[in-house]
Amino acid sequence: MAKAHVTTTVNGDAVEFLCDAEQTLLDVLRDELYLTGSKEGCASGDCGACSVIADGRLVCACLMLGVEAEGLAIETIEGMADGDQLHPLQTKFLEHAALQCGVCTPGFLVAAKSLLERNPDPTEIEVRYWLAGNLCRCTGYDKIVRAVLDTAEEMRGG
């Protein structure tokens, strides 16, 4: 079977790639585009380590085919910092030590960014529910939740 030719946008850049129909968006990001920030944890949509934003919606890149990215705007963890300037969430994750091994961190950051874009003033409960699809086996979540709430406050100018 001939590979499919896909034209899409990744982190604002026009991108073209060839892929097999079976390849997930996560496979394509990591193996074809060498954007290895998105991680494969479970490959079944349970852990959120591959969280990306597709046309404004938070999704698991492992649950989307690469060919489905045709014409969509994809945002990944690689697009989060502005050059050397970290996104406020990234800075707060460091300040709060909201990571240990770091495998879940790109997914948490992308998911948290998507939350704060919709809801700049979330409650702790809203943060916990929004991030329920991101699993972390190291931190116990409290530091992550505090980092997100602190970022929200800072971004609101508090």
Binding site: M1, L58, L63, E68, W130, A132, G133
Partner: protein, 287 residues
């Protein structure tokens, strides 16, 4: 595996009808991609229906709501009109999975995955929603409860797929609700699910009631006796008790790690009672 993303209903039907039994429909993909990965399915052809405009739209005309097959849970949850008309259907959709899953998962996918525990299906059945199905012989419409025939089994023929869900006009003083029981607060599969849709006259008497249960039989079941137990009453405690007994009596569940036969049977009545309470309260507040 071949991937196609037709832009018309006819195009999708032609592909699916020509693809033989090994063609699969892709909407949100939150079940299909997991099954592909696990090797549970090995389709020769995947037909992505999301480029068909009709599958992505939510429309309301003359009080009748139509939800496209591939509308995501997140899109439905943000739709104020859908939420106002069918709060039970919307809450059943929003219960599914994480934020990431909500970004993709669809009503048609939840229905056609044909799990007895699908959350949206009891709510859709209670709502008396109809499936608009396209196929080689044109379009036909069937009640949602006629789509699944058993776990993983559908009544759809070769080349057929669900295009949209059509809802009846919402009468005054009516509302729906959906509740499911899981042993945690989210990210789990229903032990029991209950969808209830009630309508009242201006004297507060119930004039129509539909009660549907999930995860207590091979398919979601519409329990007509449970609905009948409420019609003509004010949904007082005695009527609710009779309804709960009818709901439990209709259960034919299995024992599994999520719950025993006895437990599911009991919980079905309890959940249906609570969902009816919520639906009645919403109906009272509606106008």
């Amino acid at each position: 595996m071949r991937y196609e993303a037709p832009e018309s209903v006819e195009g999708a039907v032609a592909l699916l009808a020509g693809g033989g039994p090994r063609g699969r429909v892709l909407a949100g993909g939150t079940d299909l991609l997991v099954q592909l990965r696990a090797g549970m399915v090995a389709p020769e052809l995947v037909v992505d229906i999301k480029r068909i405009a009709e599958t992505r739209k939510i429309r309301e005309a003359d009080g009748k709501l139509v939800i496209g097959a591939a509308v995501s849970g997140a899109e439905l949850g943000e739709h104020a009109v859908a939420k106002a008309l069918w709060p039970g259907v919307v809450e059943s959709t929003e219960l599914i999975g994480s934020t990431q899953i909500q970004g993709r998962a669809s009503l048609a996918g939840n229905l056609c995955n044909a799990s007895p525990a699908a959350d949206t299906v009891p709510a859709l059945v209670a709502a008396a929603a109809t499936c608009k199905i396209a196929g080689p012989n044109g379009v036909r419409r069937i009640p949602v409860e006629d789509v699944c025939t058993g776990p993983g089994q559908l009544s759809l023929g070769d080349g057929e797929f669900v295009v949209a869900f059509e809802f009846p006009k919402r009468p005054p003083r009516s509302a729906d609700a959906y509740l499911r029981f899981i042993p945690r607060t989210e990210m789990d599969i229903a032990v029991v699910g209950a969808g209830v849709n009630l309508a009242f006259d201006d004297g507060g008497r119930c004039v129509a009631a539909r009660v549907a249960l999930g995860a207590v039989a091979p398919t979601v079941i519409l329990v007509e006796e449970a609905g009948q137990a409420l019609v003509g009453t004010t949904c007082d405690a005695a009527a609710l008790q009779e309804m709960a007994a009818a709901a439990s009596a209709a259960c034919r569940p299995i024992d599994d790690k999520r719950g025993t036969v006895e437990y599911r049977t009991k919980v079905a009545g309890v959940l249906a009672t609570r969902a009816a309470g919520i639906a009645a309260q919403r109906a009272k507040e509606s106008r």
